[in-house]
Symmetry: C2
Amino acid sequence: MNEITTPRRATVHDVARAAGVSLATVDRVLNNRPGVRPTTARKVADAVTSLGFQRDLSASLLARARDLQVRFLIPAGSNEFMDSLADAASRRIESALIERLQIAITRLPLLDARALVDSLDVLMPHQCDCAVIVGTEEPAVLASVEEATRRGVMVMTLVSDLPGSSRRHFIGIDNVAAGRTAASLMGRFCPQGGKIALVAGSMHLHDHHDRLEGFRAVAAEYPGLELLEPLEGHDEHQETQALVEQLLARHSDLGGIYNLGAGTTGLLAALRRTRRTGSLRVIAHELSDCSRAGLADGSIDVVLDQNPDGEIGAALAAVRTLALGAGTLENNEPIEIRIFLRDNLG
Amino acid sequence: MNEITTPRRATVHDVARAAGVSLATVDRVLNNRPGVRPTTARKVADAVTSLGFQRDLSASLLARARDLQVRFLIPAGSNEFMDSLADAASRRIESALIERLQIAITRLPLLDARALVDSLDVLMPHQCDCAVIVGTEEPAVLASVEEATRRGVMVMTLVSDLPGSSRRHFIGIDNVAAGRTAASLMGRFCPQGGKIALVAGSMHLHDHHDRLEGFRAVAAEYPGLELLEPLEGHDEHQETQALVEQLLARHSDLGGIYNLGAGTTGLLAALRRTRRTGSLRVIAHELSDCSRAGLADGSIDVVLDQNPDGEIGAALAAVRTLALGAGTLENNEPIEIRIFLRDNLG
DNA sequence: GCCGTCATGAGGCACGTACCTCAAATTTGA
DNA sequence: TCAAATTTGAGGTACGTGCCTCATGACGGC
C-alpha cells in the first residue's frame, strides 16, 4: 500500500526571510523592477531555488486586478480548418474568463501578410499580453513579430511556425509524422500493393510539404505501392473535384487516395459520383462536417486531425504559464495527431 | 476583418446590489450556509443568473487558504496500465500544486474490494475533498462510496464506472467504440479476409467485455473475417504467452490478433519467437514500454491507448470545477481513444 | 562636509472571496 | 402581546501577490 503526498508551498515572505531581505526587494527581483544590486538579486534568486518557491498564480492574477489579454489572429477565407480554429477559440471565451484570460479573435484575409502585419503592429502591451498568430514565413511578418516582442507583446505561433523569430512558443503538430502515419496505414490497407494518388493544396505550403515528405518516406517501405505524382488543388473545392474526377477516370485500378490538403469537400463530391467501394482507400486531413460525413458514409476511411480545440487549449495554457512564470516552457511536447475512423467519432 | 471580444465579470458585490441584500446573505446562499429564507435565496439566485455571475476560482481558493485535496486510489500489481495511471498522477503533483490542488496517491492490492473500502472509509472531508477510485462493481464498494459522499467526500470513478452510485463523475473511454475501431482497422488490414484471434484478460471485466462487443459488431460488416473464440489470459504475461504460442501453432493461416486485455508483454514474447511478418496484423491496447517496442519493431501494428495522462488531467479539472462550482459538469465528453502506429509515436 | 544618486526597508492598499462575530430587524409561537 | 427563535446586515480579517509611497541608509564626487 504505497503512499505519495505533496509538499507545502513557500510564499514571498518565506523567500524574504530566507534571503535576509525585505518583501519589497523580493518583489523587485521577482518582477524585474530596477534598483536592485546584482549581489542582492542573487541572494533572492538562491532563496527562490532553495525553497522551490513558485509564484501563486491565483493570487498573482488577483492582485493584478486585470485579466490576461490574448488575441488570436487567424486567417479567414474558404479554409474550413481555419474556421474550426476560430470556432474553437470562441468556444473557450467563457471558460477562459473564469481563469482570468480574456480572448479576442481577429479574422484576417487569407494568406495576406500585409493584413497580418497591420493587425500585429497596433497591438500594445496595455491591451494585449499575447498575440497568437498563424503566419507565413515572410520578412515583413518576421519584422513585425520582432517589433511586437520589443514593445512587450508576447507572440506565439499556431499551426505554422516562424523558426528563428522571437516568438515565445509554437503550437502545432508534426506534419512529417502525420504523412508517415498516413502512409503506414495506406500500406497496411493495401497488402497487395496498388496505385496511390496524392492530392495537395500547394507545395508552397510548409505543412503540405512536410506531409508529402513523410508519406513518401514510409510508402517506400511498402514496395507494392506505386505513388502517382501529387496533384495541386490549391485547397479549392471545385478545382480539387475536377482533378479527382479526372484522376478516377484515368486510373480505374486506383488503390487509394491521400488528400493531404484542405480540399476535402471537392474530393468527396468527386468520390460520391464515381464511387468504387471496397477497393479504394481514402485518407484525408482535418475533421469537419464534410469529413465526418465522409467517414460516416464510408467514402473516407481515415481522417487525421490536428485537433483545433487541443491547439487552442495548449495556446491558452502556454500564455498563462509564460505571462507570469519564468522564461521557458518545459512541457514543450507538440500537439498530438488524432486519428479518426467511423467508429471512434464519438 | 471579423472581431470577437469578451465581456466583463460580475462580483459578489454586484450580486448583492442586484438582489437588494447584503454581502453576508449572498455568501450564505452561495456556500449553502443555513439561515436564509427561501424567498431571499431565490432573489439571490435570480441575481446570479441574470448577471451571469461566476465565482472567481482564484480568489475563492485564495480565500480558503487551503488547497483542494485529491486522493487517487489505484490498484497495484502486475498491471502496467495501472502503473502508468499512477505515474501520470504523480507526474502532475508539482504542476497541480501551482493550481492549489494537492494530490495524494494510494496504491491498493489488485482487485481487492476490501482494501479499497478500508481506504475509502478513513477519508474525512477535512483532509480529502475528493477521492478518485478505480473500483469494481461490488456491493461493499458501492456502500462505501455512498458513505463517503454522505460524509462530504466527493467520489469520482476512473477507468471503470460505478453507474447508479453517488459518484459525481466518471472519467474513462468508450470501450465499445475502442473495440469497434479495432475491428474497423482489422477489416481494412485484411481485405482478403482471414482468421482473427481475440485475446482478453477476463470476460468478467467490464471494459474487456465492452471491447469485445464492439469488435464483434463491426467485424460482422467484413464477411471475410472469421473470428476465433476469445482466449482469456487473465492479464498474466506467462499465461497469455502460452495461449498465444499454442494459438499460432494451431492456426498457421492466422490473419490477425486483437489483444483487448493487458497481457501485451506475454503476447509480444510469443510473437517474437514465432514471427510471421507481413501476414499477421496485431492490434493491442495501452501504450507502454512494451507496446512501444512492439510498434517500433513491427510486431504490433496499432496500439489503442486510453491516455492515462489525459485521464488524470480530466480528473483534476473535474475536481476543480465540481469542488467549487455548481452541481453538474457540462463538459462531460468522454476521454478520447488515442491511436498509435510506429509513425506517430513522437 | 554637503548634495545627489542609488539601494533597501517598512508599510499600506488593492484584488474577490471565505468565514467569523455581533447587533439589529423580522418572523414565529404561545 | 411578549419573548424566543430566526433571518439579515454590517463590518472585520485573512489568503498571497502586485504596486505604490515614503523614509532611511550607503555611496560617490565635488
